[in-house]
Symmetry: T
Subunit: 69 residues, 12 copies
């Protein structure tokens, strides 16, 4: 188990609702093509503003997944 | 459209409820004097503690807005 | 009052629910042994993924408390 | 002369042509309202892509100017 | 529109001519296999020296593109 | 009290005497136009040299002040 | 030769033996699917502890490879 | 002597007088409970402002001390 | 299991032999007083030089351990 | 060839014309006393402003050269 | 004047008295061999502790000087 | 002893064998021209890859030495 190799991809997810759902949306999309995702790390939190209010949150993630079978 | 110039201001908003409402509070106050805000970036997340619990969250933001008419 | 000395500890809290409750869980545990906690700062936001979804959020905090009596 | 005080503003300029003209465009706009600008520092270089090519460069600057009369 | 998910790849482009053409060369190569590229960020600027002169500039980019259809 | 909004400005103060008086000079000048300054953070310490000696210290500050009435 | 384009991937390798063999394990796995790897950069060194001892080292790498034929 | 192990604690000291006395106050308080302190590193310099003047300086320190007997 | 709270301590270990044994020495000493250590992260690698050669390596670590029973 | 040792110097070059010629000017001056320069890395991009326009660009470089014969 | 080239050296000065005199001591020593020093930047502030008190402050500086005649 | 002044040079050493011998090779070469080297700090760890394996490790060091007699 100590010899796992992970690959890390960088994603941006967004949501009009919350930081958590922006993370969820990124993972949901990524899980269509990546199996065995194990962890994520938030590296940037941004958002767009319309009419003086948050239109949607944007969260940049690093996501690690195993390359092993 | 490619020749927009943006100015960036740095704000701290706070809220006893959530990170999202701390962001909202900063933008609501800023929108009283700044028009055309376009995006924000969270650069620091802190908070105050009272009696072992979060009294309020503090989120430091950079907010970009257009200088164009 | 200007001569307070603070000590800072570093903690990781986690929660399946939200970033805010991950912070809460860290502070609740810390308050069992640390009195006079005054502020926190989020220095890392991560999480674990199971079946393509967030299993739990992990928030790394610095927490400051007074050493004064 | 050693007691100057400078204020620093953060700007984003853009141009379809070059990094240098993105800097120029930010300074030209800023000079409409700020006198006595003395130096700038590039803190971020980005750009937008359309049809696989750079549509415009975006350069984020800190610009220092004197507050003295 | 607020639910886009972006993926980010990291590239190094080079050119003997200018920083801008080093960026162009990276994007031109990437566009052979990546559709829907939207933005880039320069994260490192380097170069090789021969006979005391710049032989070519090397620019490391993060490039974001949409995963949506 | 938990819903304060702060704005942050960036200043450079200088003094031939000490780091502390460079901070003082920046705050004294800023207080002519900014009321309700609450805290500062030193983000850069530099200086100019003449004849092998410090001619003046330069301290770059972020200064936070309340936007509330 | 000055017009090479490199792509960079991020990997985590691990080994119970040494930092060097953690690097080796990451590269060995990556070489199954990536040809023309040219350089790596260590961006994080971590490890897991069991019974007060290092169970395995984990080294996060950026690996650059040519996209040219 | 080459096998010393150090532990590092993080402290904030403050003083109305100078950066140096803010450091001193942190060390004086820490020395009540920590023996064998060997070095410190300043990682943040801040302060509070009252009536447009520095009320007190705050210096965040890492302090290393030996765990050996 | 998702509600673990970790505490993180910062240590410096050293060894005349290798980076790995500097890590080992820090963990061995720490395990005398800390139970349930789970992971470490290397945050600085330094060393002392005598007669033009490495006298000993110094590795600064963050070590995480569970506060749960 | 794998046993090269490089030394790195830090330089600031400037030019009224472009970022590239600021790099060139630094290398041209350095090549008067340093042989075998191999690569450079841009670590800071600044400039001076006169009358609201760029008077000259300043680029801070790290330059690596071989110490081998 | 816009075509100056600067070289930057890194120094550590120390003093038992103050941060300012640690800077002075570094510059005084450097001025024995370097002419035309123009500016410095403090990049690290540390110190040694003896008997629970500051034995001496250590300030790491970058110092820029002109290479021109 | 508290008035030592150190100068710091930046070096890259390499070795096909290990990180430690890459450090050794840099110091061995530097000791031909620099006396009184006291400490080093690893600021970057990289390497070259040939045929999917590490060809040699490259370690970038800062090395401090006394300027005093």
């Amino acid at each position: 188990m100590s010899d796992h190799v992970y690959k890390i991809v960088e994603l941006v997810g967004s949501s009009p609702d919350s930081l958590e759902s922006a993370i969820d949306n990124a993972l949901k999309k990524a899980s269509e093509t990546i199996r065995h995702m194990r962890w994520f790390e938030v590296i940037e939190t941004r958002g767009h503003i319309e009419d003086g209010q948050v239109a949607h949150y944007q969260v940049k993630l690093k996501v690690g997944f195993t390359l092993d079978d």
